[in-house]
């Protein structure tokens, strides 16, 4: 495989409410920022991730392209998935050997919609979606299956929100409090907040990466795997696809300093920790993670960006990033980022 690294990362200052900007307006500053950081104006390939249902209209990626300044025309593609999967497509494209750089971005404005209801429409349309089981309800099934200790979940939320308060891009949320359930056993603070935001990443191969960054975050492994859709066909307390993707990406081949995990619910952290074989001393989601800022369709890409940032700035030598898609962690992507190859 060709050596590819994250050489730049930018994200919006995320908001928990609609602050006004349309999707291209959210994107323009972050794309400008990674262009400035690398000095690149053109990229060999561009790939983005978003979801039309967040905007409630078809082709949400079309106007977003206006923020890229795609003139003269660019080589470009889009996945209707989290931007992390767009990064995977760009990484694959860089393996061909004929281009050296790629721009990846993801964006989502959840404030314009009811994300819990929208996620219902992701379920099998004939048998599951008509049941009206919303996103928090099916997450609660998984939380019940994993049967995590309440104090441990509270600690995950407390740590994530504290991380978010220290992160200038994440939301400013108070420590968890209150006894009532959102959907038992989940409490309101176990659920990632509604967030608007966007992120951009630049990938570069080989010597180009060394030119563009002092300490490139080399992607030593990246893989993703899906599981059956039907919740009854899976052991919800485990994430087999994360474990397989983690093995394929080589998570266990070295010590992990930090892991950024796409945990949209507090109970997902212990499931993912176990699947990835992360020991108790691995720092998880120091950025605050999705529980402190969840711009849907950018959240997974931000995990890769946050993990890479710690390599780029020298505060970590080896990091793991995770992104998910589908109900109850159906599909999972794992990337290993390293300061050396």
């Amino acid at each position: 495989m060709r050596d590819v690294a994250v050489v730049a990362f930018a994200q919006t200052v995320h908001t928990g409410h609609d602050a006004g900007p349309a999707e291209p307006e959210l994107l323009l500053p972050v794309i400008d920022e990674v262009k400035r950081a690398t000095g690149l104006k053109r990229f060999g390939f561009t790939c983005s991730g978003s979801c039309d249902y967040l905007a409630g209209a078809p082709f949400s990626f079309v106007s977003a392209l206006d923020a890229v300044g795609a003139w003269p025309p660019i080589s470009e593609s889009h996945v209707e998935m989290d931007g992390a999967f767009a990064l995977y497509e760009a990484w694959v494209r860089l393996q061909h050997g004929d281009i050296d750089t790629a721009l990846v971005y993801g964006f989502g404005k959840s404030s314009m919609s009811d994300i819990r209801e929208i996620m219902t429409l992701q379920l099998d349309p004939y048998y599951l979606a008509p049941l009206g089981l919303d996103q928090v309800s099916y997450a609660a099934l998984q939380a019940a299956a994993v049967n995590a200790d309440r104090a441990a979940l509270d600690e995950i939320v407390r740590r994530s929100r504290a991380g978010g308060r220290a992160n200038p891009y994440a939301l400013d949320l108070p420590d968890p409090a209150g006894e009532e359930f959102e959907v038992e056993p989940l409490r309101p603070y176990d659920v990632a907040p509604v967030t608007d935001g966007a992120a951009a990443v630049v990938l570069a191969a080989g010597d180009r990466a060394r030119e563009l960054a002092g300490r490139p975050a080399w992607i030593t492994g990246i893989a993703h795997r899906a599981e059956p859709h039907y919740l009854g066909m899976r052991d919800l307390a485990r994430s087999v696809s994360t474990a397989e993707a983690g093995r394929a990406a080589g998570v266990g081949k070295g010590p992990v300093d930090v892991a950024e995990l796409h945990t949209q619910f507090s109970h997902e952290e212990p499931i993912l920790r176990e699947a990835l074989g992360l020991s108790a001393d691995v720092m998880v989601n120091p950025s605050g993670g999705p529980l402190a800022a969840n711009p849907v369709m950018a959240t997974g890409l931000i995990r890769i960006g946050e993990a890479a940032r710690r390599i780029l700035d020298g505060s970590a030598d080896r990091a793991v990033a995770h992104a998910t898609s589908g109900p109850c962690l159906q599909q999972n992507l794992v990337a290993v980022l390293d300061q050396s190859l």
């Binding site: 039309d52 079309v62 393996q95 992701q122 893989a223 696809s241 589908g326 159906q330």
Partner: protein, 382 residues
């Protein structure tokens, strides 16, 4: 370009207005199983699955790849969902090919579909986010002014669109999968149909279809059966909103064609390409794309159409399958073009086979004529 990659299997469903007998999952599985059968493989032989379709609102299922993973044997494998507007079928094939060309996987299943009967595509195309304009006209209303501008610039006579509509529907009669199979189709019949968006008449537009198409792609050492080798792949996008953008002959289309021809070593596409499957959803897009793709000089495309060059027995057949004008499951339409190009160079296109086809172009476009995906496939190993 990366490692060599070939199409080793093609599967299509019959395209029709409504497939009431299958669910979305049943539809994609039907195409996938046929592609696997063609390649002599099973789901167990597949390393990764790539799914493409046009906007999720067409069926009302958000990110349906999650639900469709089971039907496509994708559990335990990576699944990617591509969406690049009308060009998506083509882009999906290219993402699949990329996984092989990049050396990541040996065999990839690519599936694209649309089941338009589950919703209303014109409605889905017409909703729009706040603060952005909607023409409330669907695709035909958007493209009609582009066509009128082409007629003004080129001086093309008004009957050219009719000729394409007849030619593609005659070809469709030879394709068992085609949706519109209209016995006795002729110019008089097309001209007698209502004007929808001047100059586009009812029979100069594509139908709304249910259908799916699948292909199996393989690395050189995994080829089974009859391969269609990929000689070039390219994507190009340009912004929707840009002053001075030429919507009649978009630069993204010209650049994309130039890139894919360069990779395939083609200098004269009209002479060297034996058959082309080109995305023509409204009949007038044949002469327009003849020019955009370099088959004719600017202003000359309609003359090739009028002279019959693009007919099945012409010197440069276009849309031998009947094209998008005869079958349009939107998300699959681009992949059908790519797959039909592969069938032609494998010599497996049946009644609509172009004799001795060795090099073929697959083409798709989308959005406001701003997204392009193309490949060149050949019977010879590149």
């Amino acid at each position: 370009m990366g490692n060599r990659c070939a199409v080793i299997g093609v599967g299509q469903t019959r395209y029709q207005t409504r497939r009431r007998d299958v669910s979305l999952a049943g539809l994609v599985r039907e195409a996938a199983l046929r592609a696997l059968e063609d390649a002599g493989l099973t789901f167990a032989d597949i390393d990764a699955v790539v799914i493409g379709k046009a906007p999720d609102m067409f069926e009302g299922v958000m990110m349906p790849e999650a639900y469709l993973a089971d039907a496509l044997g994708a559990a335990g494998k990576p699944v990617t969902r591509v969406h690049t507007a009308g060009s998506v079928g083509g882009s999906t094939a290219l993402v699949g090919a990329s996984l092989v060309q990049g050396g990541v996987h040996g065999r990839v299943l690519v599936v694209a579909f649309e089941k338009q009967s589950e919703s209303n595509a014109t409605w889905a195309l017409t909703t729009h986010p706040p603060f952005s304009a909607s023409l409330v006209v669907g695709a035909g209303g958007y493209f009609a002014p582009h066509i009128r501008e082409y007629m003004r610039r080129s001086g093309a006579p008004g009957h050219i669109g009719t000729l394409v509509a007849v030619k593609d529907r005659l070809n469709a009669l030879k394709n068992p999968y085609a949706h519109l199979r209209i016995p006795g189709i002729d110019r008089k019949m097309v001209e007698s149909t209502p004007m929808l968006w001047e100059p586009i008449r009812y029979l100069e537009t594509c139908p709304s279809s249910d259908g799916a198409c699948a292909i199996v792609l393989a690395a050189e050492d995994k080829v089974t059966g009859t391969p269609a080798w990929i000689h070039g792949t390219a994507m190009r996008s340009e912004p929707l909103m840009m002053a001075g953008r030429d919507v009649v002959s978009p630069r993204a289309g010209r650049d994309c064609a130039a890139d894919v021809y360069r990779q395939a070593g083609i200098t004269d596409p009209r002479r060297e390409i034996d058959v082309a499957e080109v995305y023509v959803p409204f009949s007038w897009y044949e002469p327009m794309w003849l020019e955009n793709l370099g088959f004719a000089a600017e202003g000359e495309g309609w003359k090739l159409t009028e002279a019959g060059c693009t007919a099945l027995d012409g010197d440069t057949p276009w849309n031998a399958s009947g094209g998008v004008l005869s079958s349009n499951p939107i998300g699959a339409s681009g992949l059908i073009r790519f797959a039909e190009a592969a069938l032609q160079v494998r010599g497996m296109a049946g009644e609509h086979q172009v004799e001795g086809a060795r090099l073929a172009l697959g083409h798709a476009y989308g959005g406001g004529a701003q997204f392009f995906a193309m490949w060149i496939v050949g019977s010879r190993r590149p």
